[in-house]
Amino acid sequence: MSADSLVSQLKRGLDAPICLTWELTYACNLQCIHCLSSSGQRDPRELTTAQAKAVIDELRDLQVFYINIGGGEPMIRRDFFDIITHSVDNSIGVKFSTNGAYIDGENARRLAAMDYLDIQISLDGTDAATNDAVRGAGSFDTAIAAMENLARANFGPFKISVVVTRHNVAQLNDFKALADSYGAQLRITRLRPAGRGADTWHALHPTADQQIDIYRWLLGHGENVLTGDSFFHLNALGEPLPGLNLCGAGRVVCLIDPLGDVYACPFVLHDEFRAGSVLDPGGFTKVWRESALFTSLREPESAGACASCGSYDACQGGCMAAKFFTGLPLDGPDPECVSGHGEDLLSASTATAPRPTKDHSRPVSLTRKPVRT
């Protein structure tokens, strides 16, 4: 069987997701300006411990091998260890993303004692100035302290997870060196205009020249650097990057949000891409297998405006979320189309881009603390 027919089978969807992201909470100690889930304040409707464990039991029955846990900051939940222990006890590996604020010495040792657990520490600059401009004052030192604690606890190879922006593209080699210095693995992913990123994407996303730099850098580093297959829009530049060259939204991936709402992918928190809830009758399984949204995402897609472009097979028209939140039609070029078709459309567009549906950002303080001089 050829790889092409495997991809076409994946596009028609599987009975269970391969890769499932679960944002455990909207609560976060940080307020990153590109946060994909507009996190900050806890939502009082978030799933209870019992509801979360019931979801895990369902995923076990579906033979989901591992889950990607995020937030918000997932370690803020008091039942965090309870939930991830229940998961690994049921043979569902856990990979969780954290800003590191709660990985003190004791928690690092506790995490190091667990099997089937991967940790991704988020870092968006190899120096405090670059990182903190996006992730907030002090967040660089916090992340490094967490890495030190994990190293001291002999956790083993954790991951450093970077969202590539125009301000850190030039640091890719430095990120790799930092990861190597901890025996860690580097993971770089594409910035999407999701959540608060919808407002900051235009100022943060890599320039056209930088996209070529990213592509060349990834080709040079091959499978040693993880990407979540998120840069497949760059495949139009030539030799394909390692990984699955397709948008998996609703086909092989999906997102469960802190309230239990199921979305097509982590980057489309909008009513239009909400398939249902794990609390609906039939649970997650019914949403995954029968929801109208996921069924439609598994039908053959139209190349639309990209049909006449010779690169469509290589880039698949790019990322659905990137198009949606920049106001571009879904059956057209990605805003970061390497041939420039997306940029042309964006500059000519008068359409208003849709706004993310949920916003848990903390309110801006109107009364500032007095500044000592």
């Binding site: 069987m1 790889a3 027919s5 495997l6 089978q9 599987l14 009975d15 269970a16 391969i18 033979q63 091998f65 591992y66 043979s91 590996g93 099997d115 089937y116 991967d118």
Partner: protein, 88 residues
């Protein structure tokens, strides 16, 4: 190529298989690799490796025709690289 018809192989105890229309997904809980087994016959062979003394005997037992043996050896060789199956 390290795998021959005389090799003795088995599925790693750390691997779980999930049946799929195209064959199966194989996940290695140790190295976290996810591998696509792209044909039901490959799945049958992988599952039966431990039941036979050699790869050749497994291929025979699974009814794999002689002209397909080379491609199965190549596929099994790849699966040793991702540690989905073990030699010996």
């Amino acid at each position: 190529m390290t795998i021959t018809l005389e090799s003795s192989c088995s599925l790693s105890p750390q691997v779980a298989l999930r049946p799929e229309p195209f064959g199966a997904l194989a996940y290695h809980y140790g190295n976290r690799r996810l591998v696509f087994l792209k044909h039901p016959d490959v799945v049958a062979v992988v599952k039966n490796l431990a039941n036979h003394p050699t790869v050749g005997a497994t291929l025979d037992a699974c009814g794999i025709a002689a002209e397909r043996r080379a491609s199965f050896l190549a596929a099994l060789d790849n699966l040793t690289k991702s540690e989905i199956i073990h030699v010996g």
